[in-house]
Amino acid sequence: MSRTMTFSQAVNDALSTAMQVDNNVICYGLGIPDPKGVFGTSLGLQDKFGSERVFDMPCSENAMTGIAIGASLNGIRPVMTHQRLDFFLLAMDQLINNASNWKYMFGGNSGSVPITIRLIMGRGWGQGPTHSQSLHSWFAHVPGLKVVSPTTAKDAKGLLLSSIFDDGPVIFLEHRWLHNHTEEVPEGDFRLPLGKASLLREGNNLSVISMSYMTVEAIHAIDYLHKTSDINCDLIDLRSINPIDWETIFNSVCKTGRLLVLDSGWETLSVAGEIIARCAIECFDSFKCPPVRMALPDCPTPTSCALTKNYYKEAVDIGQTITKMLGIKTDLEPLIKMRGTNHDVPGDWFKGPF
């Protein structure tokens, strides 16, 4: 049984399912029970499960992270949500010093901190320097943390349920521009394994490794090139940033010999850089051309839509890069037309303000 739903409804469905199957799951965050329910993701949960298990919280990101840790050490499975990843930066002490270290620093003798932290990342509509930072590479750098970043509604549900029932701390990243993605989502306690990438398109010419919203732009570019120029790419959606599904990546790169990595964060010391480094080590003899990464320029995010025009990478940029790597010239004008000129929003459904 499945139902057509948006990404945000799928998140809501996952939370509701988790709370139904396990009384120890609790859910809190600023705005969780408010009338907007964090972009719809938490609407109705407090009515269903009561204010002991679903609650708003003080503006105390650091303590509330430590409180999740403490509760988890006595069998509770807290899910904490922040409407922007940037707000959670106040909690790095508890996340890094405690959550990620806990299992190790007590030699496994004091539990393993089963907490899930949902962080929403913005883009466009002037989200600017403090509402749109994509810091998955920070989190993924720290041993002891899992970092999950789904692209599709179905993956959002399956991976959120697995995150909540994982034994350790999980950072669950939701891109704001994906909240309206709609597809068939299985009903009930549907879980997908953490640490497995998803092969969304298959082809022998080039491997595109992507994550989160960048995968949407990649699909447009890859489908266009397939239709118009018979260029066929593997498109691997990482879904999990830590652990990374290296086997799937190496298999693809060894097959195609051409590697393009798309990263929704800054370029230097990015996850894309790590993927290229590992592929250089493991697939060195397969490379037919230098690998390429496309990420954000190394500067804080500007606000004005005039300034973000060339800041974010889009389908046409990806198309250009792929054709250049293959040494092929293709007319990309139709792709530009198809994608529209409004780089600032994900679609008509997005009316701002955040």
Partner: protein
């Protein structure tokens, strides 16, 4: 004396154990160079640790700080496993991954100590939240120092504990120094920590942390109130660490505090004072005291010998931690 004989002897024994443990570390630390980790001794501060451990139930939770030996032992934590941990051995309470600053003994509710100032305060409050959700009558005890009340997370945590009326006991040992920085350069003179905490809406009391009976009574009273569902209580106890901030030596000569101040506090030795008290109240005689001392020192020496003989752990980046050798 308002406490019974058994309790008095247990308090005394706990203090002795903590003192002998700390002083044996102090003697052997430089001599052997086998305790290769930062070690924060609590000599002089034994009373609050013993009193809290005595007043709490075994199934109550406790979390602590970098200076945790006393809290761990007071709560009933395994002595042998603590010393083995300081030696970095496989049989240590944290399997050699934690050292002196990361102690745990879940079997007595000691959930963990960490070395970031105020780092375990919200963890203790979270344990309090879990107790409330699970509707048991346990309480969660958070040990902290005076400097922890300068951290933002302290206010965030107390606020939440008050907001949700959580079963949390905050025990602040004010020993006047954060490393070498005296309280007066960190907090306005004349403002008491307890009264500030009261302003957040948390009942707060101060007391003499070198008086084990007073500490025990105030902690017991707080525990009763918390167990009755009245929400968190904050206790501030004045006390003094005898040795340097970190390490086995004395540091009164380096200039951040005076030898005179140290000598004054030494005259308020919590163990010496309580020993006189139990002798004069005829709770124990000289013989019994001496026997207790000999027996305690021999337990401590045995723990060190076991630690010396124990195996070192082997490194793996994916240790699993399924089976930890005891």
């Amino acid at each position: 004396m308002t406490i019974d004989k058994t309790t008095a002897i247990q308090l005394y024994s706990k203090m002795l154990l903590i003192r002998y443990c700390e002083e044996t570390i102090a003697v052997r630390y430089h001599l052997e160079k086998k305790m290769r980790c930062p070690t924060h001794l609590c000599t002089g501060q034994e009373a609050v640790a013993a009193a809290a451990g005595q007043a709490l139930r075994q199934d109550d939770f406790a979390v602590s700080t970098h200076r945790a030996h006393g809290h761990y032992l007071g709560k009933g934590g395994d002595l042998n496993r603590m010393i083995a941990e300081i030696y970095g051995k496989k049989s240590g309470c944290s399997g050699g991954w934690g050292g002196s600053m990361h102690l745990v003994d879940r079997s007595v509710g000691f959930i963990g100590s960490t070395a970031i100032v105020a780092g375990t305060i919200p963890v203790g409050v979270g344990l309090g939240l879990s107790i409330k959700l699970k509707k048991t009558d346990q309480i969660s005890c958070v040990f902290l120092g005076d400097a922890a009340t300068e951290e933002g997370v302290f206010y965030e945590s107390v606020n939440f504990a008050v907001l949700k009326k959580l079963p949390v006991l905050f025990i602040c040992e004010n020993n006047l120094y954060s490393v070498y920085s005296p309280l007066k350069v960190r907090q306005p003179e004349g403002r008491s920590i307890a009264s500030m905490v009261q302003g957040i809406g948390c009942p707060a009391v101060n007391g003499n942390g070198n008086d084990v009976i007073e500490s025990y009574e105030k902690i017991s009273k707080a525990i009763d109130s918390i167990r009755n569902g009245n929400g968190p209580v904050f206790l501030e106890f004045s006390t003094y660490r005898w040795r340097e901030h970190c390490g086995p030596d004395f540091d009164n000569h380096i200039g951040y505090r005076s030898g005179k101040e140290f000598e004054e506090w030494k005259t308020k030795d919590p163990i010496e004072a309580f020993e006189q008290k139990i002798l004069s109240d005829e709770i124990a005689d000289k013989n019994m005291i001496n026997e207790l001392k000999t027996e305690t020192q021999s337990r401590v020496d045995n723990a060190f010998n076991l630690a010396e003989l124990a195996e070192f752990p082997e490194f793996s980046s994916n240790p699993g931690f399924e089976e930890i050798a005891r």
